[in-house]
């Protein structure tokens, strides 16, 4: 093991050191651990006074629904929110990171954060990780320059759009948007269209489900409508209820083990003298 003559300072971005080892492991048949994906429908649209973001609430781990009511609309700044699709840990971590960077920036400049600042921070982080940070985001907010809506892909490319959808249910939601979107929607029309697009994803895509979350951002004001629509209620509830009175279960044997043992303290000076 030779020591490097010049110690290079740690650089940002992806370290490809373990890639050869991973390839060798895969060729030997060792499977990498699976991760929790959000297999999602997320949408955003620009309406008359600002931006409306929408998301479903199902988080999947392969074929299993691991969280029936998770939050996919993340806080970035008081006037900027971001929906995330892809690996749940990646979307959470990257949005938290940019959120704290923006807060420090706000303290430094004394001004409200701009959406393109968040966009540039997210885009350059994702690009430097070459798509390995699997986060596909719909970023929306209203700042001093007006309402903005952007999509960010895991490799770091971005689009500026009047309406956007991402995630596995994006085609179902986009079908609704492409047929019904027009400019200058009112708040109620916008919320209804967003809910319709998310419901289209919930009912036509297997990776999306449960409830609809909506976030409305306007100039100087935001409204986070958690579970704005719940189109998948529990339809059967047993009328008798689920009570388990004492004595219902038959006791076969009883064995009692006291957890606290009696400890004898011997007064001795040797051990802990010094």
């Amino acid at each position: 093991m030779s020591k490097a003559v010049v110690d290079l300072p740690p650089k940002g971005g992806f370290s490809f050191d373990l890639c050869r080892r991973n390839e060798m492991l895969i060729s030997k048949g060792v499977h990498p651990p699976s991760f929790r994906k959000t297999g999602t429908t997320i949408v955003g649209l620009v309406f008359k006074d600002g931006v409306i973001l929408g998301a479903d609430t199902r988080a999947t781990e392969g074929p299993i629904v691991c969280d029936k009511n998770c939050e996919k609309i993340h806080y970035i700044a008081p006037n900027i929110y971001c929906c995330g699709a892809g690996t749940a840990a990646d979307t959470e971590a990257v949005t938290d990171m940019v959120s704290s960077q923006l807060q420090l920036h706000r303290y430094h400049t004394g001004r409200e954060s701009r959406v393109i600042t968040a966009l540039t921070l997210l885009k350059s982080h994702l690009f430097s990780y070459q798509g390995y940070v699997s986060a596909a985001l719909v970023l929306g907010g209203v700042d001093i320059t007006g309402p903005h809506l952007h999509t960010i892909y895991p490799h770091g490319s971005t689009d500026t759009l009047p309406f956007a959808t991402m995630g596995s249910g994006s085609l179902a939601a986009m079908a609704v948007f492409e047929s019904k979107f027009r400019e200058g929607l009112t708040r109620e029309e916008g919320i209804e269209l967003v809910c319709e697009a998310i419901c289209s994803g919930i009912f036509n895509d297997l990776g999306s489900g449960s409830n609809v979350d909506v976030c409305v951002i306007t100039k100087g004001h935001k409204e986070y409508l958690r579970n704005h629509q719940m189109p998948n209620p529990r339809t059967y509830v047993s009328s008798k209820g689920y009570t388990f009175p004492k004595g219902l279960t038959e006791v076969l044997t009883t064995k009692i083990t006291p957890l606290k043992e009696k400890v004898e303290v011997i007064e001795g000076n040797d051990a802990m003298e010094e």
Binding site: I116, E178, S200, N204
Partner: protein
């Protein structure tokens, strides 16, 4: 019939050393087909594009064809396989007409025949690379079904193949209802075709709509849809974010 099949099977086994003679991938493909039941019968829509990989090679491919007196077929996927299927169906209808017994094959029968053909080809690992939509009316009964290249078949009130599965089916599930009038049916199909035109890269803006009722088949002349690109965000996408895209 049996002896011919046996020799073909032997030849297949023997020639597998020389080289594969099965369809491995499609070459000239058509994109989605959409079909719906409406008040008087069936409405189907398909565009007229034949793509050769990523090139739009043929722009006047008719992918909707009448079959016999009672049926209408639409196909997406490999165009040459569709032409072969049309030959099989032509032979089927011809033999049926030769019986001259006053009876004629309805859409249900044609659908069943196609299912058997597709499934048997798939079992021989030599599929006809198509997704077919079969619709028709016989004796007042409307029928709309689909067969895929692996033999999956079912019938429903609205059918979509290819990209239409993802983009058109959500719209159809929401907005289809019994007893659509002809105008409403065409409007619904055009809505779906417009979304496909925006979002499917192999779609062309030249489509035909076919209608089949008890009276017969009408396939419209090719026409284009109006599209809207006038969003203010498209005029100046980097406003407020110069240097980005």
């Amino acid at each position: 019939m049996n002896s011919i099949d046996a020799t073909i099977a032997e030849k297949g086994l023997m020639s597998s050393e020389m080289g594969s003679e099965r369809t491995l991938y499609p070459y000239v493909t058509g994109t989605s087909v959409i079909g719906i039941k409406y008040k008087d019968g069936i409405l189907m829509a398909a565009d007229m594009g034949g793509s050769y990989g990523s090139t739009l090679r043929y722009k006047s491919v008719e992918r909707l064809k009448p079959i016999g007196k009672h049926s209408l077929i639409g196909a997406s996927g490999e165009i040459s396989d569709f032409q072969e299927i049309l030959r099989y169906l032509d032979e089927l209808i011809l033999y049926d007409n030769m019986w001259d017994d006053g009876n004629s094959l309805g859409p249900k029968e044609v659908h069943n025949y196609l299912t058997r053909v597709m499934y048997n080809r798939r079992n021989k690992f030599n599929p006809l690379w198509n997704s077919l939509v079969l619709g028709g009316v016989k004796n007042g009964q409307k029928y709309l079904g689909t067969v895929s290249m692996i033999g999956v078949h079912f019938e429903d009130n609205h059918i979509a193949t290819g990209f239409g599965n993802h983009l058109a089916r959500p719209i159809l599930r929401k907005e289809w209802h019994e007893n659509l009038s002809f105008e409403d049916g065409v409007k619904l199909l055009e809505k779906c075709m417009r979304v496909l035109l925006y979002r499917d890269r192999s779609a062309v803006n030249k489509l035909q709509i076919a209608k089949i009722t008890e009276e017969g088949v009408t396939i419209s002349q090719p026409y284009s849809l109006k599209t809207f690109w006038g969003f203010s965000a498209f005029q100046n996408p980097t406003k407020g974010a110069e240097g980005s895209w």
